[in-house]
């Protein structure tokens, strides 16, 4: 299978700081690729080069067989790389439907004038939410009334609806409770089955093991290679994330609970 996006030897320097020191990862359609790493490992910098926020200092991005040079996030979104950030980009006071179509409002013409097509927007929103397993009271329900997990799901559904081929999820489960996490992971599974490449950033190995097809651990701007499901144990991933021995001693004192 051809990778949909191939990041080759990506380096990113911020002044004298080397945030990424040559990272190579392939992402495949229909797979959930987990990107693991501790804070400061370079996960965020890496996905921001993918989504056009940062330009890589060195290295190339091949998307659907073509080399890309994203100038800003708009270009990568247009190409089909969508990112759902931790802070979600949802507006609590606005309705789910208005949020869903924010920036992509459907238009119908009346007397030659362009109007927001609320009927269409409401219908699509209700359908998409139902498909994701969220029951809305109505499309005019404010996003503020949704739980954190439901908001994540709305954001994911929105990205998928507007044609994402690569969906980057930046720590989607880090602020959620157990049940909400399960819902978001189920959503990731649904999205993957639609043939979308999911890039799942997390530092929680259990969440990664639950949905991941491939696992890449970043540490201090480098990767230790990519493992596929079944090749690697959670303990090995945990060790790689912490950079080996340090965690062994840490884990000893905590009785292996980390």
């Amino acid at each position: 299978m051809e990778p949909i996006i191939r990041m080759t030897d990506i380096e990113k320097h911020f002044g004298s700081v080397i945030a990424l020191a040559g990272v190579t990862i392939d992402f495949f359609p229909g797979e959930c690729h987990c990107l693991l790493g501790d804070n400061g490992a370079g996960k965020s910098t890496f996905i921001k080069t993918m989504s056009g926020v940062h330009k890589p200092t060195k290295g190339e991005i091949i998307f659907e067989g073509e080399q890309m040079h994203f100038e800003d996030p708009r270009e990568s979104i247009k190409a089909g790389i969508a990112t759902v950030y931790q802070d979600l980009a949802m507006i609590p006071l606005m309705s789910v439907s208005r949020n869903f179509f924010m920036g992509n409002e459907p238009i119908k013409r009346r007397l030659g004038l362009p109007f927001f097509d609320h009927e269409l927007a409401n219908e699509v929103t209700m359908n998409e939410m139902r498909a994701m397993g969220i029951q809305l009271r109505g499309p005019d329900q404010a996003v503020g009334t949704l739980s954190g997990g439901e908001r994540q799901t709305v954001a994911i559904a929105r990205a998928v609806h507007f044609g994402a081929k690569v969906l980057i999820l930046d720590e989607p489960t880090s602020a959620l409770g157990v049940r909400q996490t399960a819902n978001v992971l189920a959503t990731v599974d649904k999205v993957r089955k639609q043939g979308i490449a999911v890039v799942f950033i997390t530092h929680n190995v259990r969440h990664a093991m639950a949905v991941g097809d491939r696992f890449t651990v970043l540490n201090r701007g480098k990767t230790f290679g990519t493992a596929t499901r079944g090749e690697v144990t959670p303990e090995e991933l945990q060790d790689l994330m912490a950079g080996g021995q340090e965690l062994a001693t840490l884990e000893g004192s905590l009785g292996g609970t980390v």
Partner: protein
């Protein structure tokens, strides 16, 4: 997965009453019912509800509405404009300078004033967007700058701060009539003939109705309210206004041109202030350097009574118009009822406080915060 299994059993069904509660217009509707009930009970005989009385408070309400529409859309977009009052004075003075002092044709004077004032609105917006400073501070500066020029320019040119003679200059001018004229004159004459409204009993205008038409000021107010409401709720741009005020960063993530939306709203607010000013100078026939004092705050209060949140992202043009109507009715109603007019200020303060408390409560209902 069935629908039932997904329903969160902890979310209570909301009653239709509760849903009706979480409308931004609620405060305005309740307030209007209260105000009209009050004056119908206590001031019915004062002439407040005769044709002249209705015209009187309608005109005052319409003035409030015109500036409230602009302030409303701007507040929903997340910004304030404190320079509205100064802009009113400034715009009126510009028309007088161009039309009377420089003796330009009135329509050129009016159009030039619109261009200057809307450009000043754009400058307000540009500075706010570019510097990231609170619009409160930026437009507070504009408030003083414009007021200063409004006094300085006529004093320098004419050695006075009130310039008259505008009505004479505007006589027969097509654009002057768009702001200072009246419509439906035939209809009102007919109403007078059949005895529905009162007519002059003697004098040169005997037999003509006392109220001989609907002032263009009211037409402008209704027009701006309708256009503002439709744009806000029924267009893509309206969604961007909500988004820009709700969370500018989130809006930018999905490609909403937040800066452009905000600058356009500052321009629209300036446009509304200029409409107010033109109607006012056409009605009075003069421009004064002290015109429009405190109007910015009255506009903001009307908007808040109308249910908009001071923090942006939520509100209603219809609500703001209802807030303006409360103002007009109370301000003039107190006069008709023979109550000391300074109490209007007391009323403003009290109702503002009540409205803000109600809005905060409603926001909690919407977002489910506790």
């Amino acid at each position: 997965m069935t629908d039932a299994s997904n329903r969160d059993e902890r979310i209570k069904e909301t009653s239709s009453l509760r849903r009706a509660m979480i409308r931004p217009e609620l405060g305005g509707i309740v307030g209007n019912i209260a105000v009209f009930t009050f004056f119908l009970l206590f001031a019915y005989d004062s002439g407040m509800f005769s044709s002249q009385g209705v015209l009187n408070w309608s005109v005052v309400s319409a003035q409030f509405m015109i500036i409230a529409v602009g302030a409303c859309l701007l507040m929903i977009a997340g910004e304030f404009d404190l320079s509205v009052g100064s802009m009113i004075g400034f715009a009126g003075m510009m028309i007088a300078i161009f039309g009377v002092t420089l003796a330009w044709p009135m329509w050129i004077a009016i159009l030039t004033t619109f261009v200057i004032c809307v450009a000043l609105g754009a400058v307000n917006g540009f500075i706010v967007v570019r510097t990231g400073l609170p619009s409160f501070i930026v437009t507070l500066a504009t408030l003083f700058i414009l007021r200063g020029f409004t006094i300085f320019i006529p004093q320098t040119l004419e050695r006075k701060t009130i310039i008259g003679g505008i009505r004479e200059t505007a006589e027969g001018d097509w654009l002057g009539a768009v702001f200072g004229g009246k419509i439906l004159k035939g209809f009102f004459a007919w109403l007078g003939d059949i005895g529905v409204i009162s007519v002059f009993e003697s004098g040169t205008r005997a037999g003509q109705p006392v109220v001989d038409g609907v002032p263009m000021l009211i037409v402008w107010a209704i027009g701006l309210v309708v256009v503002g409401h439709v744009v806000l709720t029924r267009t893509r741009f309206g969604n961007w206004i909500f988004a820009a005020g709700g969370d500018a960063q989130a809006a930018r993530y999905v490609g909403v041109p937040v800066e452009r939306v905000k600058i356009l709203m500052f321009m629209f607010t300036a446009f509304c202030a200029t409409v107010f000013a033109v109607c006012q100078v056409m009605e009075f026939g003069s421009a004064g350097a002290d015109r429009g004092l405190l109007k910015e705050f009255e506009a903001i209060i009307a908007v808040v009574i109308g249910g908009a949140l001071l923090t942006g992202g939520y509100g209603s043009v219809i609500g703001a118009a209802l807030g303006a109507l409360i103002f007009g009715v109370v301000q003039q109603g107190l006069f008709f009822a023979g109550v000391e007019s300074s109490l209007f200020r007391v009323f403003l303060g009290v109702i503002l406080l009540l409205a803000v408390i109600l809005n905060t409560y409603i926001r909690r209902l919407i977002t489910g915060e506790r």
